[in-house]
Symmetry: C2
Subunit: 496 residues, 2 copies
């Protein structure tokens, strides 16, 4: 077991090294360094792959696996062995030539996608998309699956979850959201969201964002806050987890929303147990659960009345203009405003998931082979019209908006909505466990929700599969019910 841990630690260190190479690339690297950096990343990825596929060369892992089968090894040790075997199996099933072809194709495809989006021309991207879909279908075959090839891809991001389960949850969600949105649209008065715009010096925005992140419990001695075009969180170790955010001079809430979100991710990374670094017990359980942490802070807490009861006076003191002119009630209405829009990343809490449903339905069918890539713009535009009620003027604002497919990330999109569903389910459980939760948050005692999440989720690592973890923490397997209840409660007043 000690030997296994040592090897896992080496493998994790290589992943961390790549994470630093990528972080530096996004945040700091000079433009001309791109080619050399790509080569360095490719080299380290290759070494990571080699270390992983040779982990059982001396049969240590196989022997431990037998101990798990015969129940000689139980508990955390068993989790470590089983999950490592899972990762090893998956990696081993993909021949090096295939991995290289996929990496080269997606690397080229990303550039083609950038061009196609700039030119607003889906046709330019079509041949690459076709090739990627073919490769991903091949990957599903190589990895193996029971019912849908999409299962094999989904499993890489949300271990154990099946296409069938997601479809059920998402269909339920759709059945609620589409009429709910129409209802909201029909009754709500016009909200003047421009009232919270102003002129916010960057240095003071930075200070405020840092204050918020630290208040949430982000440890700046074990992480950094920087800036990048697309905000993200990365982690090399629980002692060094980094977030980025982005600023608009005229829109303070643009950066605050992104800081709440990324800090939610970072608290998960800083909350993993360092003594388990490299082993499954020291890793986040899934992308969906990761997203639940960011969404819970960004939305369930960060768009709620208790949080702003605490923070709004501080915001008003730091930026009297325009916030002195905007009562808390109006501010909350503005940050919770719902308006169907074309771009996923700018969507509100209600419409966001409709954006994801569109992508999930399309990519599932692409991988299952029931639609042809050439028909994507038409399918996309029709779904947007049906679900969101708005026409798509062009592909740049439509099917070409996201980078994921160009990078071969099929099975990734659903984890965004899973995050929202999990967040609502977790928040409801937290409210049951901590009856005075809202009062604590309103006092600024953000350590109360943070420590609960740390105990219930972060410190557990991959001890349980995502659905199992949700069951243990909330008493129920994942369901869309808590999310729809949450939306109904939040929008009760304007809807009624």
């Amino acid at each position: 077991m000690a030997r296994l841990k040592e090897r896992l630690s080496d493998i994790a260190q290589l992943a961390s090294v790549n994470a630093l190479l990528e972080w530096d690339q996004e945040v700091l690297m000079p433009a001309k360094g791109a080619d050399a950096r790509a080569a360095a990343i490719a080299l380290v990825s290759g070494l990571h792959h080699q270390k992983l596929i040779s982990i059982d060369d001396d049969k240590t892992l196989s022997l431990l696996r037998k101990d798990v089968e015969t129940k000689k090894l139980k508990g955390e040790g068993a989790v470590m062995v089983t999950d490592t075997w899972r990762a090893y199996e998956r990696e081993r099933k993909l021949p090096e030539a295939f991995v290289r072809e996929l990496a080269e194709t997606t690397s080229k495809a990303h550039l083609v996608w950038v061009e196609a989006r700039r030119a607003n021309e889906f046709k330019r991207f079509l041949p690459m998309l076709r090739k990627i879909v073919k490769l991903k279908r091949k990957e599903a075959e190589l990895v193996g699956f029971k019912k849908s090839p999409y299962d094999a891809l989904l499993d890489a991001f949300e271990p154990g979850l099946t296409t069938e389960e997601v479809t059920t949850m998402f269909d339920d969600l759709k059945d609620f959201l589409v009429p709910f949105l129409k209802q909201l649209q029909s009754v709500k008065g016009k909200t003047d969201t421009k009232r919270i715009l102003g002129t916010f010096p960057l240095e003071r925005q930075r200070d405020f964002n840092r204050f918020v992140a630290e208040k949430m419990g982000f440890d700046t001695a074990a992480g950094r806050i920087d800036e990048s075009v697309h905000p993200f969180t990365t982690s090399f170790h629980p002692s060094d987890a980094r977030i980025t955010t982005r600023y608009k001079a005229h829109d303070l809430m643009y950066s605050v929303g992104s800081t709440l979100h990324e800090t939610g991710h970072a608290l998960y990374e800083q909350g993993l147990r360092a003594e388990h670094f490299g082993t499954p017990l020291g890793e986040a359980v899934s992308l969906g659960v990761h997203e639940s942490q960011s969404r819970l802070w960004e939305n369930n807490i960060g768009k709620g009345a208790p949080f702003w009861k605490y923070l709004y006076p501080k915001l008003q003191a730091a930026f009297p203009e325009p916030f002195r002119q905007v009562p808390l009630k109006d501010f909350l209405r503005i940050v919770n405003n719902v308006t169907p829009s074309l771009i996923r990343t700018e969507a509100d809490e209600v419409t966001y998931n409709l954006h994801i449903l569109i992508r999930f339905e399309i990519e599932r069918e692409l991988i299952e082979g029931s639609i042809d890539p050439k028909d994507l713009p038409a399918i996309w535009n029709e779904k947007v019209k049906t679900y969101l009620g708005i026409p798509v003027p062009d592909d740049r604002l439509g099917v070409l908006q996201d980078t994921h497919w160009s990078q071969g990330l099929f099975g990734y999109f659903p984890t965004y909505t899973l995050g929202n569903l999990y967040a609502a389910q977790l928040y409801a459980a937290m409210e049951r466990a901590i009856p005075n939760l809202s009062k604590e948050i309103a006092k600024g005692a953000l350590s109360v929700p943070r420590e609960w999440l740390r105990d219930q989720i972060h410190a557990k690592g991959k001890r349980y599969a995502p659905a199992e973890l949700m069951k243990r923490v909330t008493g129920e397997y994942p369901t869309s019910r808590y999310f729809t209840e949450y939306l109904k409660a939040k929008y009760a007043a304007p809807v009624a």
Copy 2:
């Protein structure tokens, strides 16, 4: 040969990855990340070592080496094979257990040294120093040498140079410097160096330093300028070379001197030919020659009248206070002021080399076994008194001031003075080759010296051994003569 190049490129990429891990550690890393980072660096170093010692596993390198011996392979190809063999041989001669012991010892020793320096107590450091000296003597034995074990250590930093050659050059230098300093001291009037102090907002200091670096030709699209406690230059590839500098609010020249120095290093790295990346033809030839580039810009150009004839009006415009009150002549006298002092890193052009001579003489004898580590403080203090004419009040300002020995860097110190000697010799050759050099510099045409250095030095990589390169560029093997002539000319006025 293609196979060899590919392997060398992988090995170089791993070195670059480690360079990024270290750069980030010095410049950005949060405090708590230290242990995980140390582990990542150790892992990548180990992979680098493994790749290097297995480079001849299929005998490609051995076969190419035969081709060099039989003159079938000549020119650049031969250089590549011969130098790679040299690195491979050196690496191979050190057993892994030895490398690990040395790494662990120096890692611990560094912390002990920090403590000992803080406590101002050499005795605390003595046991570690004893152990390191023993290990470095062992390393010299393992690597092999002809006359002095110090040869084997020196060779790692200045390939081909012998202890005997350094001793000759340095003795010549000492014979000149000691009486020259006394003479300077006896005649020079008091210079009020405080006249150039003031209050310099950091943001404007940063702008000015960036202007200077870019004017020298530092390509900020292929590098970065950051801040760290100890300024340094690192490079991952000619397309990404980074410098750091440091600022004092009251002393502008503190940062400018360090920027000139580090940019000199960075121009070398950016000037290496990218198509040779990873091979000896794409690497700097030695630490001494590297230091010659930084010193040439910092001192020979950067403390000279022509440079400031161009730059001083700009400095005065950016910082009217106090520079409007200081005529150029006085400014030059201040930046060239000579005063013996205790700390090497704060020393002027004349006394700096006496600090190095002291360290060289001591470390050579330590490695040759002719002095005992316990006697270091006494030996140190006596040499400082004799060469610099000042008493050493305590070990913190004496033998404990530098980190090098704690890190096992024996044979490194001489390269600082070699850099000064080479710089003077190169500058004299440049003046002969470009008769109007001073006029060009005074016009701000810094591309003139930069392009000459790029052609003569940077683009050559390791094509020639350091001494051979100096011979080809300057017509003479390395000598201290040009440096002493340079000092005599510079200080002629105040001395006369």
